[in-house]
Symmetry: C2
Subunit: 419 residues, 2 copies
C-alpha cells in the first residue's frame, strides 16, 4: 500500500535522539495537516498532545512509515494503515474520527470533485462494484444487520425503537410517503435482499418489479418470496437499473443512487421519466448525499464501495429530477437516523467479532470496523447526509395536501383537492 | 402596446369574405401555436372550436390586431390585450388559462432562460421594483388579503380553514419548523406588512429584526408594532437584504427570494452565511419556485412584478444554500395551497370590484384579475411551485429528529440527540 512513499529506514544508522526528533517532527507535521482536533498522536516514545484541550483519543503509530504515509495523504493512507494494524486508536474510535473530520472540515480540506477520477459505470462495472460489496455472503451481513437484512438508514420513530423495528418503520415511512394503495404497480431500482419489495407487497397489496445487479441478493430475495408465498406479486430481476422497462404508479429506490455515479444521473433520469405515469405517478429516492459536491472518501471508495459517489442535493435535483421531468414534493434529511443506524450495526458487528463469528482475516475485520465507525462519524459531523426525496411528474394533478397523515399512521393522499 | 406589430387595417378595401377568411386563418394560426387545448377562439363572425372536445371557454377577440398580437407573441401580448378589454374570456377564466398553460407545456413551449434579459438588481432598482407592486396602498390590499395583510401562500391545515386562519396556520407552520424558543433572535428578510415578525414576537417570545425596502410597508409594520405594544422586541428596518448585519439564531424569508433575481443569489448566500450561528442556527426560505429554470411569464414580469424570477429548486439549493454553507433539513412543496390562496384572494377581489371598492381604472382591475387567475392556473398546472426550505449550517449539531412535533402542535426540536 505504501510503495509509492519513499521508505524511511526503520533501523538506520541515525542515532536514537535524532530518530526521536524526526518522529516528533513528523507528528507535528501530521497534527498541523489535520488541524485543531482534540487528538493525541504517538509514535514509540514521542507523544504530541493537543494544546489546552483534553484529547478524546490517541492515534498510536506502530511504525514511522505509517505516520509518514498519513502526513503525505491522510485520507487514503489512514484506512489501510488502520486495517493493517499499523495505527491504533486508543479511546473512542467514532469520537476520534469525528474530531478529525471536524478539524479537516474547518480547514476546508476538501479535495476537488474534478480532480477525482471516478471511472465509468458500465453495466459490467456496476455489476462488479455491487459484487465486491454485497456478495460477501448473507451470513456475514446477518451477523450485524437486522433480521430482514435492510442495509440502509433506519428510521427511529419513536426514538426508542430497536434496529429491527426502526427498519420496519423506515419501510413503512417510505410506503406511506408514496401513499401506496392495493393493486398499484411499483418499480424498485436496487432492491438489496428484497425487504422493501416484500413489505410493499405484503402490507400494501401492490405488485412489484424489483431490480438488482447482485446475483446473491436476487437469489436470496426470490427464495424469501417463495417461502412467504408472495412470488406471484413480486418479480425480482437480476438486471441493471438501465434495463428497467414498463410503466408504474410508483418508482422507488433506496440506497442505489449513491452507487450509480455521476455518469448514471442521466440514464436514471431517463428511466424515471419513462417509468412514471405522468398524471398519477410518484417516486421516492432515498440516498446518502452531501451538502455540496465532493467526492467520497478515497479509502471508502477504493476498499469498501468501489465506484460510489454520494451526490449533493443540488445535483440530485438538477441532474436527475429536472431532466426526469419531476417536481419535488418533499425532502426529508434523516442524517441523525443514519448515525444511530451505524452505531447499532457497529455494536452488533463488535459483538459478533468478539464472539469469533465474523470470519475473514483480522485486516478485513479492522477495515470493516473503521468503515462503520467512520461512516457514523461522517453522519454525525454532517460530512454525509441522508435524503429522502419524494417527487411526482411535473404538471401532474395528484399531490398530497399535507404531510400530516404520515404522522397519523396512514399514508399520504395523492389526489389534488378539486376545491 | 402593439406598436411594434405591423398594423392590419381594420376597415380596408378587402372584401368581407376575404376578411373573414383572414380572421379564420389567424384563429387557426393561434390555435396551432397554443396546441391541443379545449378552447374556442372567436373574432367577429369567425369561430374556431377544438376538435372532438367540449371547450372550457371561448377567447373572444374584439379586433384583429389583438388576435395578430397573440399569434406573434402569445405570452407577452395576451396580458395587455386582456387588460385593455380587447380579449374577453367567456367561461371560467382560471380553467381557460389552465387549459392554455397545459397545452403550451405539453408542446414544451418554454422560452429559454438565457434569452431573457432580467436586468440587474441594484439596491435602487430593488427598491423601485418593490415600490411598483407593494406601494399600491394598504387600502387596496386590505380589500382582498386577510386582515393581517399576509401576501404569501397560506397553509390550509385542516383543509376547511378560511383565509384568515390559513394565514395564521402558515405563520405557525413557519415558526414551528424553525422551533423558535423565547429569547432567541430572528432576522427576517423581506417582511411585507410585518405579520410574521409580529407573530413571532407575540406568540414565540423571540426578538426580531425585520428588513424591507418598501417604505409604505415598513411604516405600516412599525405603526402596528406600536399599537400592539411590541415595538421593544421587534425592529423594522427600511433596508435592502444586502444590508442585513449581525448574528441570529434563526433566519427567515417568506416571499422575497423570487424578487432578488439570479444576481441576488450570491449576496443572499453571503447574508445567510454571516447571519446564522454555525452551531445552533437554522433558517427557512419560503418562495415561489419552479421545477426547472425558466423565466417568469413576460407579462407578469413587465406589468405586475418587475424584476421577479422564481428560481428552480435546484438553483436555490446549488446557488444559494450551497455557497451559504447550509445543509437542507426539510423541503415541503405547498403548491396546492397557493392555488387555494389565490382563489380566495380572487374571490375577495371580485367581490370588492363588484361593490365598486377597488378603485383605479378598468384596465388596472382587469390586469389584476388576470394576474390572480393566471397565478392560480400556474400553481394548478405546476408551472409554479411553492417551496418551504428548512436548513441549518453544514456540520451543525442541532437537528430535528423527526417532523412529528409539527403535526402535534409543537415545534421541531433543534437538538442532536446525543444517544
Amino acid at each position: 500500500m505504501l510503495t509509492t512513499a519513499r521508505p524511511v529506514p526503520e533501523r538506520s544508522v541515525v542515532h536514537a535522539p535524532v530518530r526521536e526528533r524526526l518522529d516528533a517532527w513528523l507528528l507535528r507535521c501530521l497534527a498541523s495537516r489535520i488541524g485543531r482536533a482534540p487528538l493525541r498522536y504517538a509514535l514509540r516514545r514521542s507523544v504530541l498532545s493537543p494544546p489546552s484541550v483534553r484529547p478524546v483519543a490517541t492515534l498510536r503509530f506502530r511504525d514511522r512509515r505509517a505516520l509518514l504515509g498519513l502526513v503525505i495523504d491522510p485520507e487514503t493512507r489512514f484506512g489501510d494503515a488502520y486495517a493493517e494494524g499499523r495505527i491504533e486508536i486508543e479511546g473512542d474510535l467514532v469520537a476520534a474520527l469525528e474530531a478529525a473530520y471536524r478539524a479537516l472540515d474547518a480547514r476546508g480540506r476538501r479535495p476537488s470533485v474534478l480532480s477525482t477520477a471516478q471511472g465509468r459505470h458500465s453495466r459490467r462495472r456496476a455489476r462488479w462494484n455491487a459484487h465486491r460489496h454485497y456478495d460477501l455472503g448473507d451470513d456475514f451481513y446477518r451477523l450485524w444487520l437486522d433480521e430482514q437484512l435492510v442495509y440502509t438508514c433506519a428510521y427511529y420513530d419513536p426514538p426508542g425503537l430497536d434496529l429491527e423495528r426502526a427498519q420496519v418503520a423506515k419501510l413503512d415511512h417510505v410506503c406511506r410517503k408514496l401513499g401506496l394503495t392495493p393493486g398499484e404497480t411499483v418499480v424498485e431500482a436496487g432492491c438489496g435482499w428484497g425487504a422493501l419489495a416484500l413489505h410493499m407487497v405484503r402490507e400494501y397489496g401492490v405488485q412489484v418489479r424489483a431490480y438488482n445487479v447482485s446475483h446473491e441478493q436476487v437469489a436470496y430475495a426470490r427464495a424469501r418470496a417463495e417461502r412467504e408465498r408472495l412470488s406471484g406479486r413480486v418479480e425480482f430481476l437480476e438486471e441493471d437499473y438501465r434495463g428497467i422497462r414498463g410503466r408504474c404508479d410508483a418508482f422507488v429506490s433506496v440506497g442505489m443512487l449513491e452507487h450509480v455515479g455521476r455518469d448514471g444521473f442521466a440514464p436514471l433520469a431517463a428511466v424515471i421519466r419513462r417509468c412514471l405515469d405522468p398524471d398519477r405517478g410518484r417516486g421516492l429516492l432515498h440516498a446518502i448525499g452531501r451538502d455540496r459536491p465532493r467526492p467520497l472518501n478515497a479509502w471508502i471508495r477504493r476498499r469498501i464501495f468501489p465506484g460510489a459517489y454520494p451526490p449533493a442535493l443540488g445535483e440530485i435535483v438538477a441532474a436527475v429530477l429536472e431532466p426526469a421531468g419531476q417536481s419535488v414534493v418533499d425532502v426529508e434529511n434523516l442524517r441523525p437516523h443514519y448515525a444511530r443506524t451505524l452505531r447499532d450495526w457497529r455494536e452488533r458487528f463488535e459483538r459478533a467479532a468478539a464472539a469469533g463469528k465474523v470470519g475473514f482475516d483480522e485486516r478485513f475485520r479492522r477495515a470493516w470496523r473503521l468503515y462503520l465507525a467512520g461512516s457514523e462519524a461522517a453522519f454525525r459531523t454532517g460530512s454525509l447526509q441522508l435524503f429522502q426525496i419524494l417527487f411526482a411528474p411535473s404538471g401532474g394533478t395528484a399531490l398530497p395536501w399535507s404531510r400530516r397523515p404520515l404522522y397519523e399512521g396512514t399514508g399520504l393522499s395523492w389526489s389534488m383537492p378539486t376545491s
